[in-house]
């Protein structure tokens, strides 16, 4: 994985120094909260319901064991012994003290990590495919392209005060695990006419109040023009994106208002101005970065057959591992969704245990997924049983990947000042209730957001739940039919909302009806819904 050179380290160290200076000036009342708030937000520090929350960037969701141990240390030293992995592959700490934040950032910088641009109206953490470099279906590792973007977007002088936040995802595979159609910019590595690698560029997707799928504005962008073209997209957005209404300020509104073709034309026009300015690094820079992402040396003759006589182990292998591109290896997903627990939360001790596993068995790599789970990307099948036993003892061996109890949930009104309703208790109840039958239900993605901003990706849920405020009381809307994968679609509201018990009950009715409607036991809920439409489910819930 990528290692900082002296320039990268100097920039991160300078950022720590800058924030230390800013915090000191705020604590001395040299600057007002009004002036300070945007500064701390640009460093990922929010004031939430109970305390400050710090969002730490995990670029493209990749960590090594040293970094994960530091995240555990931070949880113990500066927080209350746990952290929350987010739907953007980051980690959040919930009980941070402003005065201690500079020391925390210095600790992070010591392991090549930071909180740059994890909030604010700027280019946020670049997200990617959690199976990068391990999945057989990718044409190339997307992370060098993501790292190049990370560097380009860090402290960008022109694009740090955009109309609104800006999220970019990069994937190297046609199987979309990075939800590229639901990002401000989605990038997919593709082959050009001569077999060379370039990028397919999608712009204007997103969730939130006005969910939209991103249209393609360029089928093939040569790598040599990558950054100048990104610069052109951002400049068109910065100049022409709406600033009069915060709910219409994302780039999706601009792209939709102009139409994808006109937006693409404006980007090309701007690009013609920018391209001659020498904004693109030479190919050697991408090659330098890519050299950090050499595929791990995995033995070609690792045994494929393993002892699956323990049924619990066999079930976990079947549900939570994926084939690796190298025979005899597997990709392990560690579920942070034990039914009844808080989705995405991990204790410091659990982080340490996973770091140990990564170091011992997984080429020293861990990935964070947008579904709030962790991944050991390069594991020998022969080691799976040992890994599983450690996970069992740490409460991390739940075999529920992509199943009913693997629920995405934002922190909701238990933590977040933007939330209108609690998300986590709904996720906990549903997970406990649905877990006993989830094997029969197969792939079922339930996603819960506590407000319209949609951090819980409710619009991309096979079943989505949106918490709203009804006169100070929590109320929940039910949405069906969304997907964030390569078959992306936006879930639609089924009907009137429910209270906390009502929504749990309504989801169970939807699932009961699905079981009577599915064409065969293999037909996923999403496919049944797409085949039969909303009516039978409406009838089941409201009829």
């Amino acid at each position: 994985m990528y290692r900082y050179d002296k320039y990268d380290q100097a920039i991160v160290d300078a950022r720590v120094d800058e924030f230390r200076d800013q915090v000191a000036r705020r604590l001395n009342n040299e600057i007002s909260e009004e002036a300070f708030k945007p500064l701390r937000l640009m460093n990922g520090l929010y004031l939430q319901l109970h305390a400050y929350m710090l969002r730490v960037a995990i670029p493209y969701g990749t960590l090594d064991s040293r970094q994960l141990r530091m995240l555990a240390h931070i949880a113990r030293r500066y927080d209350r012994g746990y952290g929350h992995f987010t739907t953007r592959q980051n980690i959040q700490y919930n009980w941070i003290k402003l005065a201690e934040t500079p020391d925390l950032l210095a600790d992070l910088a010591s392991v090549e990590m930071h909180a740059f641009q994890t909030s604010g109206n700027c280019i946020r953490n670049i997200s990617s495919d959690q199976f990068a470099a391990a999945a057989a279906d990718e044409i190339a590792d997307p992370r060098p392209y993501a790292e190049l973007l990370r560097q380009w977007s860090t402290l960008h002088p022109e694009f740090s005060f955009l109309p609104r936040k800006f999220k970019i995802a990069v994937t190297g595979s046609a199987i979309d695990r990075a939800a590229i159609q639901l990002h401000d910019i989605g990038l997919q590595l593709v082959h050009g006419p001569d077999g060379e690698i370039g990028l397919k560029v999608l712009v204007g997707g997103g969730m939130g109040r006005t969910p939209m799928l991103a249209p393609v504005i360029r089928e093939f962008l040569p790598v040599a023009d990558y950054l100048s073209y990104m610069e052109a997209i951002l400049r068109v957005y910065n100049r022409h994106g709406r600033r009069d209404n915060i709910y219409k300020a994302r780039i999706k509104i601009l792209v939709n208002d102009l139409g994808a073709a006109e937006f693409a034309r404006q980007v090309e026009e701007e690009w013609a101005q920018l391209k001659p300015l020498g904004l693109d690094p030479p190919p050697s820079e991408l090659a330098r970065i890519a050299a950090h992402f050499q595929p791990p040396a995995l033995g070609a003759n690792a045994p494929v057959e393993i002892d699956l006589s323990n049924p619990d182990f066999a079930n976990w292998v079947a549900v939570n591992t994926h084939p690796h591109k190298v025979p005899g290896h597997a990709i392990v997903t560690i579920s942070l969704k034990a039914p009844g627990e808080i989705p995405g939360d991990a204790s410091a001790d659990q982080m340490d245990i996973i770091a140990d596993l990564a170091q011992r068995y997984a080429q020293d790599e861990v990935r964070v997924t947008h579904a709030q789970n962790l991944v050991l990307p390069h594991v020998r099948r022969a080691d799976l049983f040992d890994i599983w036993q450690v996970l069992v003892s740490a409460g991390l061996a739940t075999a529920n990947l992509d199943r009913a109890s693997d629920i995405i949930s934002c922190p909701g009104l238990d933590y977040c000042t933007l939330a209108n309703a609690r998300s986590i208790p709904i996720a906990q109840k549903l997970a406990v209730n649905l877990a006993p039958q989830e094997g029969d239900l197969g792939e079922l993605k339930i996603k819960i957001s506590g407000c319209i901003n949609g951090c819980g990706h409710h619009h991309a849920g096979h079943i989505g739940i949106l918490g709203v405020d009804r006169k100070g009381e929590e109320n929940y809307q039910l949405l069906l039919g969304g997907s964030g994968a390569e078959d992306a679609s936006l879930a639609r509201i089924l009907g009137p909302g429910f209270d906390e018990n009502g929504i749990v009950n309504a989801v169970e009715k939807v699932i009961d009806r699905y079981k009577t409607l599915r064409a065969d036991p293999q037909e996923r809920f999403l496919d049944t819904y797409r085949r039969v439409g909303a009516e039978p489910f409406k009838e089941a819930v409201y009829g």
């Binding site: 920039i11 002036a35 380009w152």
Partner: protein, 140 residues
């Protein structure tokens, strides 16, 4: 009125800046509002000695693009940021092409100096002379 923070050594051009709509060819000072198209000034850059760019709100970011577009077009005289701006934005402003700031909140010179000196490297090319790290790496 706030104090001008200026990074230029040439004499200040003190003419009143006119609104873009009122600008006449040959005019030496003009003021761009956030929504104004900076490219409309390109035919007049030879005459202009100062371009003010307004930041009526902290969240306003279009001025960064305007300044950079003017520098890309070769304009070398003063570009002044005017409005709701803070010392902590100086690095962004300077890199985008501004060389003077008239901020509603006074800019503390000591803080400004350490702010501008802080980052030893930058990742991307912009309107200033700083060379991006990929260019420095290339030399090694």
């Amino acid at each position: 009125m706030a104090e001008l923070f200026r990074l230029r050594t040439d004499p200040e051009h003190t003419a009143d800046a006119v609104a873009l709509a009122d600008y006449q060819p040959g005019g030496t000072a003009v003021r761009l509002e956030p929504a104004d198209d900076a490219r409309l000034l390109i035919p007049h850059l030879g005459a202009l000695r100062r371009i003010d760019i307004a930041f009526p709100k902290f969240r306003e970011g279009r001025g960064y693009s305007s300044a950079r577009i003017l520098r890309e077009a070769g304009y070398a005289h003063e570009i002044r940021a005017v409005g709701v701006l803070y010392v902590d934005q100086l690095t962004f402003l300077v890199r985008a092409g501004f060389d003077a700031v008239l901020a509603d909140t006074p800019i503390d010179r000591a803080v400004a100096e350490r702010t501008l000196a802080r980052f030893p490297a930058v990742y991307m090319k912009a309107a200033d002379a700083a060379r991006p790290v990929w260019e420095l790496r290339e030399r090694v």
